[in-house]
């Protein structure tokens, strides 16, 4: 045996395409049972272009180097009490939202890619999906490690995985991924590989990572950097699967177009959480949601869909609805969380005067007209010792599961109500996008686990809200939930920095 070192090209071929063999005693359809039921026609898998060009041994080496750097920085962050150096304790609530709402999606992505990495007949696609699957597992691990330090000093981090499976607003990202993972392998790739990882990823990661950088959170910035080169590979896979399907057969075009329409809308609805994080939860603002949406969606997706036009793919039909909402989305979302701040595992608050002025400047057409009056009233109630909490559970959209807080863009003070009747039962939706998704596959979405209905069916602990929140969601009531003002987080922060709560200052002055 020669001990000649293989060149990269040979090594790559041997460790990817050469792993395949001819199937001699089993039918192809038996081995790849899920490849055809969605209606996608593949005539020649050899046309697949491998997006990663990376072998497993170099992958391990490369990732191990990144890990070493990451954990060195995380150690330094912990030793230097990095938690005390963030811009303001309110900032940490953005990280709570990330850990409970986004990190578990990395785990779902790991599961999802591992699954589809078995389902495709083409070995190139299988290897790429398996590699992305490993990336996703690494991401969830590094995120948990990075944020575990905050868990020692702030409330709301302790049961993130449990909460992800149960808490009402976390059913929004959870059900998004459950929907993708219970679809066929090609739809999963359009949902996660293309729509989420390629088109929408910058709207999710850039705001969180820049937000972390602007607010002194080195731990989060570091895991962001460590994931960045992986994300670049994932985008290549997302684009490859789309181009491959479209080039394989013209019958695939309308199916792919419908999936793109659906998944960009589903993904955009999940990003509602990011919109409010950017405009309300970052003490040092990066840019407004509207600005971010214009750069990363309208401009970037606009040019992407120009490229895809040669395959007969058009801009998704709900893009116009998303664009119409850009001056409203974050405010409506923060209104929902302020209303139900007693039932959230992070803190909410009214913006300061300075923050309100920033919102007026960034949203000149909408903020003063529609949202400032509401906030001034809530603030007045708060000052009178009657901080407003909505006493009744909200109506949810059957598809995206978000409380029905979105309005009709032609009449922005009117709730947007859409309804379908299917098999003798009413189903309600927040938007045309969500209604169309249901109408196309009602047998899937009749199964939506809507947190409000589950509470009323008695499936979430006892009859009292305290039982649901404390026992079933495992929130530490009085610590994890309620307004930031008066929270243990605020008290600890003030003690670290020798600050007085605003209320005590007032008392002394009078």
């Amino acid at each position: 045996m020669s001990n000649r070192k293989l060149n990269m090209k040979d090594k790559y071929r041997l460790l990817t395409r050469d792993l395949e063999w001819e199937y001699s005693y089993q039918d192809y359809e038996e081995i790849f049972k899920q490849e055809s039921f969605e209606g996608i026609k593949i005539t020649d898998w050899s046309k697949w272009e491998d997006p990663f060009r990376l072998t497993m041994d170099s992958y391990w080496k490369y990732q191990a180097e990144k890990e070493k750097k990451l954990y060195a920085i995380l150690d330094a962050f912990a030793q230097n009490n990095g938690q005390q150096n963030v811009a303001d304790a309110r900032y940490v609530n953005a990280i709570k939202l990330f850990l409970t709402g986004v990190s578990p999606l990395e785990y779902q992505a790991y599961n999802g890619f591992a699954h589809v990495g078995r389902q495709f007949g083409g070995v190139g696609a299988r290897v790429a999906c398996q590699m992305q699957s490993l990336d996703e597992l690494r991401h969830v691990q590094t995120q948990i490690h990075a944020m575990s330090h905050y868990n020692k000093h702030f409330d709301g981090f302790q049961d993130f995985a449990h909460m992800h499976d149960r808490v009402w607003y976390l059913s929004v990202p959870k059900s998004f991924f459950d929907d993708a993972r219970s679809a066929g392998p090609f739809e999963f790739m359009v949902a996660i590989g293309f729509s989420f990882e390629y088109v929408l990823t910058n709207l999710l990661f850039v705001p969180f990572m820049s937000g972390a950088a602007y607010n002194g959170d080195m731990a989060t910035v570091t895991f962001g950097f460590s994931a960045q080169s992986d994300e670049a590979r994932h985008m290549t896979l997302g684009l490859e699967i789309i181009k491959f399907m479209l080039e394989q057969h013209p019958d695939n075009v309308p199916i792919v177009q419908r999936w793109i329409n659906k998944w960009l809308w589903r993904g955009y609805r999940v990003l509602t959480l990011v919109a409010m994080m950017m405009d309300y939860m970052l003490p040092n603002k990066v840019m407004s949601w509207q600005e971010s949406f214009e750069v990363y969606f309208e401009e970037a997706a606009g040019s992407l869909f120009k490229d895809l036009a040669r395959y007969g793919i058009e801009m998704p039909n709900y893009a116009a609805d998303a664009i119409a909402e850009k001056e409203h989305l974050s405010h409506q979302a923060w209104g929902i969380f302020y209303n139900y701040g007693h039932a959230a595992a992070f803190h909410t608050w009214m913006p300061t005067d300075q923050e309100m002025d920033w919102l007026s400047e960034k949203y000149p057409n909408t903020f003063d007209k529609y949202y400032r009056p509401r906030y001034e009233e809530w603030r007045k109630m708060e000052e009178a010792g009657e901080r407003f909490y909505n006493p009744t559970l909200p109506m949810l959209c059957q598809t995206c599961q978000i409380p029905m807080g979105f309005t009709d863009m032609e009449n922005p003070t009117m709730t947007s109500y859409k309804q379908s009747v299917y098999d003798g039962e009413r189903y309600n939706f927040c938007s045309t996008g969500c209604k169309d998704i249901f109408d196309h596959e009602p047998e899937k979405y009749v199964q939506s686990w809507l947190p409000v209905h589950q509470i009323y069916q008695g499936n979430c602990g006892g009859a009292e809200m305290e039982d649901v929140l404390g026992e079933y969601y495992k929130m530490n009531l009085g610590a994890d939930n309620l307004d930031f003002k008066g929270s243990p987080d605020e008290a600890r922060w003030n003690a670290w920095h020798n600050l007085e709560p605003a209320e005590d200052k007032l008392k002394k002055a009078s």
Partner: protein, 120 residues
Amino acid sequence: MAVAAIVENYVGERLDRVENFHGNQILYIGWDNHLFFCAPIALPVPPDMPFSKVVEELIPGAFSQHQDFSKIDWNAVQWHLNGESFSPSMDAALADQGIDHKSILRFSTPGLDGIKGSGS
């Protein structure tokens, strides 16, 4: 095809069928132009409950924290049921006037359009 599935004629479990609510049905109530309440509310109610209870108990329980609430002229209130104009009968049961499971009941209060007329 009501869903793309690996089995033929896949049927999903209806998670919110009325039988699951222990004798109640779900009623959604929204107050137009009062987004101080971020979304319409959801409540489990007995189908044989008279409509008067909606006005006398459910709506005040949910919406009375708003400064407009005490100013409502209930004779002038306009109702919509599942998007259609609706004239409720106070004494009749919900089920007997077409208010079925997961129905949306909206009310608008002419002249009262939220804080400083902002729809809040």
